[in-house]
């Protein structure tokens, strides 16, 4: 099924895309409480950054939001759906339709062309080739890499790979984009370009986004910045 296109972000129609209530999670091996009653409200079209030290639980939080990991207690509501209450198949289908991922290591499949990589989420949503390729091309154009459509990832630079990842994360117009250290493997100049592109395209698509980062400079591209500390989110700046 094709997801309905989202209108551009307008502050007047804000509602909570993501709502996290009293989230708790303890690391199984170490036994440490990594998330301890964490609360978060993310409005539609809002772009926030979460900072924190290594091991603070940033990636764990992202995985729980995406349904890739389960909390010990608490609730994660994505567009009103309790992600934790879904079985694995249902949370996978939710992820397929409503979440876009951007990873630090890009995770672009090396044996698919750039176009095929970007079209992959649409293929999983069962769009016909005649529909998915023009849409993937459109997103490659928005990310400034349309000329690379038929190239293979091994021929591309880190910045170009992350542009592909951004296009892939947004091509199916998800409600929520989760970006885990998307500039961690890039030089400062390229990182700035990528963050600008990410912000611009997230806002253009009407999606909400959570950016996980160590870098304050990167975090400043977000609308609000939160600090993950002692298992809870504290506002750092807006």
């Amino acid at each position: 099924m094709t997801p309905a296109p989202r209108p551009p972000h307008r502050t007047s129609d804000l509602h909570a895309v993501l709502s996290i209530e009293a989230l708790r999670k303890r690391y199984r091996l170490e036994g440490a409480m990594v998330l301890d009653g964490l609360e978060l409200q993310l409005q539609a079209g809002e772009f926030i950054a979460i900072m924190g030290e290594s091991g603070a639980g940033k990636s764990t939080l992202l995985n729980i939001i995406a349904g890739l990991d389960r909390p010990d207690s608490g609730r994660v509501l994505l567009d009103g759906t309790d992600v934790g209450a879904l079985d694995d198949d249902a949370s996978t289908r939710l992820r397929r339709a409503h979440i876009g991922f951007i990873f630090q290591a890009f995770h672009v499949l090396p044996y698919l062309t750039v176009l095929q990589n970007v079209a992959l989420p649409l293929e999983l949503l069962a769009l016909e080739r005649s529909q998915r390729e023009p849409r993937a091309l459109q997103w490659l154009e928005r990310c400034g890499i349309a000329a690379l459509a038929q190239r293979y990832p091994r021929e591309l630079s880190g910045g170009e790979l992350q542009r592909i990842a951004i296009a892939r994360a947004l091509v199916h117009e998800p409600a929520l984009v989760l970006a885990d250290e998307p500039t961690g493997n890039l030089d400062a100049a390229t990182a700035a370009q990528i963050l600008a592109l990410l912000r611009q395209q997230v806002h253009a698509s009407g999606a909400s986004a959570i950016l996980i980062t160590h870098s304050l400079a990167a975090a400043h591209s977000a609308d609000r910045i939160w600090q993950l500390q002692a298992g809870r989110l504290e506002p750092l700046a807006s």
Partner: protein, 732 residues
């Protein structure tokens, strides 16, 4: 979106990755499966061609009979025929004498002859009797014989030719009055009139088969049971199906062994699929994690990975079926259908390809590949995608597998299964034991690997220690690679050890059984030729002969559905059984009334469930003679079983003083060739008499052994190839 769509996308992405990144691995696994399937298909097709040819021949011999009454080759009194023919439920009865006739012709020791009543045979065996021609009275002449086309061409005879046969120590001539058309009977056969054969072949008053057609509406099973009760000992009323199945039953163990060897090759291919998929899943864990993160469900991923194995299996199976069919075609055309076993020598067997069995081979090959890929697929689908996307998780899921206890349990089970008796005459438990031991060993590899790696001390050399650390850090991957090598190599080594130790044992066995200087044989079995008492005396009187031991071999039927057992009555005067036979076990004589001893071969023990010390009842010349089982001996030659008794006991049970084998010891100053020449001159039976030195017979026997194992060697070569492929997969 249904699961197939997601699985299709995942399969396309993953297969593309597999093919791009490891084309050699993919090709290797496809080739391994194809070799296993090719072996199975080729063995099956050749077996089928051979058995169908035998079946066709047997159907023509048996014709439309409802019941076959069969006795020992030496025959039963023809009054049995009269009784049967007069039975209220019998419509037609046809007397038959079926013999392997000794020929006085070099290179062709025997010819199968069926002697029947042509007029009755027209009703019961029309396919055999009709081609005899309009005037069948010519067949009534005492020396007339009709040959099948195969027999005529093998013997180099035509119509009006003369066939020299050996009967009771003398050479007699039979006139070839006709040659049947090639399609009348596919194998070598001679046909005679029953009366003429009884006269000419010294079987007056004797039959060994009666074919019966029953009146309409009569239940054959109840008649068969009723008739069976009134028959003499050693004579059975059989269904035509049992008769037709005899050729198949004689070669069944050999065929099953070949099938199992092919199956083992296929299983090795499946294990290669397992190790390839396992390692490949490890290598592609990031791609798998990404697909899960992007929305491929566990079920879809599992399906995709299974489909990947199935695709390799299907490609390998298609290739294997084509290869197997081609191999069978070439072997049937250029090497015959015997697969190294003389019992299989079906003349003119042709390839018959049917779609269903070949489809089964496609399914078996694909199924084996899917079975090999199932565990890696399950593991990959179970793996948490968040972990898979991180570096360094490769070992976590693998190390969770607890394999030591199952490995020990399987090994113990394998050791127990090895002691179980055969099932239906086949060593099914033995095959399962090998499988259990093999997989048990494989499951123990991770524990052994971990301990072995932990025991290796650091060397202080950077490269070595880094490599060691790398191996210690990935014990599961190392175990999978090692297992692949173990399975591949154990197959090679096991087959090599089996064949070579079997050959060495066979050689020792021959030495034990052939202690004399010369071996003499007159005809195979006892059908027409035998050494009479006077001939035996003449052999003993030949100058230079120090000692002679005579043996009488004859097939006897112990059970209706089984192949005949070979009875060996041998001179054992002054010898201990342990000196004369390769004994495995002995039993003391039972208390009470003394019974003569009999020593049964292992095959008789297994097939008939007999044990040392038990009573053994043998049907000899229509009467039951009682023996006690004095021991078990090893016989590598007669898979249907053999029983040794003392010749004096045989003589007192049957009155038959003839023999057909002899072992001859010469005096120190005599020559073998001179003794041979004098024996030939003294007996005057031409080429029907075979005399050979014991070393030469041992040599010939070993050559026959090697020939019988040609197919096994071929299978071993393929196993070596698959093993090497396995090593290359594991090492790449």
């Amino acid at each position: 979106m249904n699961a197939w769509r997601g699985a299709w996308v995942a399969w396309r992405v993953l297969s593309l990755a597999q093919w791009r990144e490891q084309p050699l691995r993919v090709l290797t696994t496809v080739l391994a499966i194809s070799l296993g399937v090719a072996l199975g298909a080729a063995v099956y097709l050749i077996n089928t061609a051979s058995l169908m040819q035998f079946d066709q021949a047997t159907r023509r011999l048996l014709g439309d009979a409802d019941i076959i009454v069969r006795g020992p080759v030496s025959g039963f009194d023809e009054s049995v025929f009269v009784t049967l023919a007069q039975d209220r439920d019998v419509s037609v009865a046809s007397p038959v004498l079926e013999l392997d006739l000794a020929l006085a012709q070099a290179d062709h020791p025997t010819l199968k002859v069926v002697a029947l009543d042509p007029l009755r045979a027209l009703a019961l065996q029309p396919q055999l009797a009709l081609p005899l021609g309009a005037d069948i009275t010519a067949l009534f002449a005492h020396d007339a014989i009709v040959l099948s086309r195969a027999a005529a061409s093998a013997l180099g005879l035509q119509r009006s030719g003369v066939l020299s046969v050996v009967v009771d120590g003398t050479v007699r001539s039979l006139r070839v009055i006709d040659v049947l058309p090639a399609d009348a009977y596919p194998q070598a056969l001679g046909i005679m009139d029953i009366g003429a054969a009884q006269w000419s072949l010294a079987r007056l008053g004797k039959l060994n088969r009666v074919d019966l057609r029953l009146r309409p509406g009569v239940d054959p099973d109840s008649v068969r049971a009723r008739l069976g009760l009134a028959l003499p000992a050693g004579v059975f009323a059989l269904t035509p199906q049992i008769e037709r199945g005899r050729a198949a039953s004689v070669t069944r163990a050999y065929r099953v062994n070949l099938d199992v060897l092919a199956l083992v090759a296929l299983l090795t291919g499946a294990f290669l699929i397992f190790s390839t998929q396992w390692l490949s899943v490890l290598r592609r864990r990031v791609a798998l994690g990404l697909l899960r993160a992007l929305g491929v469900t566990r079920h879809e991923l599992r399906l995709a990975l299974l489909a990947e194995s199935a695709a390799s299996g299907l490609a390998g199976s298609v290739l294997g079926v084509l290869l197997g069919t081609g191999t069978a075609l070439l072997m049937l055309r250029y090497l015959g259908a015997d697969l190294g076993s003389p019992q299989y020598a079906a003349l003119g067997a042709a390839l018959r390809v049917h779609a269903v069995p070949l489809l089964c081979f496609l399914l078996i090959g694909t199924g084996a590949a899917c079975a090999g890929g199932a565990l890696p697929a399950l593991q990959a689908a179970r793996r948490a995608p968040a972990l898979a996307l991180k570096a360094g998780d490769a070992e976590q899921d693998l190390s969770r597998l607890r394999t030591t206890l199952p490995g020990l349990a399987l090994s113990a089970l394998g050791a127990l299964l090895a002691w179980l008796p055969p099932t239906g005459g086949l060593p099914i438990a033995g095959y399962l034991s090998i499988a259990a031991l093999l997989f048990g060993s494989v499951l123990l590899v991770p524990a052994v690997t971990r301990r072995a790696l932990a025991a290796i001390p650091a060397s202080g050399r950077l490269i070595f220690d880094t490599a060691l650390a790398q191996l210690r850090g990935s014990p599961a991957s190392v175990s999978v690679s090692l297992s692949s090598i173990i399975v591949s190599f154990s197959l090679m080594v096991a087959m090599a050890i089996m064949v070579h130790s079997f050959r060495a044992s066979f050689e020792l066995w021959l030495t034990k059984l052939l202690p004399s200087d010369l071996q003499l044989r007159l005809g195979e079995g006892d059908d027409s030729a035998a050494l009479t008492a006077s001939m035996q005396a003449r052999i003993g009187a030949v100058p230079g002969v120090a000692r002679v031991e005579f043996r009488r071999l004859r097939p006897i039927l112990l059970q209706a559905g089984r192949a005949p057992v070979t009875l060996i009555a041998r001179d054992m005067a002054g010898q201990r059984a342990a000196d004369a036979l390769p004994l495995l076990r002995e039993a003391p004589p039972p208390a009470g009334a003394p019974l003569p001893p009999a020593w049964i071969s292992e095959a008789v023990q297994d097939l008939y469930g007999l044990r040392p010390g038990q009573l053994l009842e043998l049907p000899l010349d229509g009467r039951i003679s009682r023996f006690f089982i004095a021991g078990i001996w090893r016989d590598y030659v007669r898979s249907a079983g053999a029983i040794v008794i003392r010749r004096q006991d045989y003589l007192s049970s049957t009155g038959d003083a003839s023999a057909n084998y002899a072992s001859i010891w010469r005096q120190p100053d005599s020559s073998e060739s001179a003794i041979e020449a004098q024996i030939r001159a003294a007996l005057g039976v031409g080429a029907a008499l075979e005399i050979i030195s014991s070393p030469e017979l041992r040599e010939r026997s070993l050559m026959a052994f090697d020939r019988a194992f040609v197919i096994t060697y071929a299978l071993e070569a393929v196993a070596v190839l698959i093993g090497l492929l396995g090593v290359s997969v594991a090492a790449s």
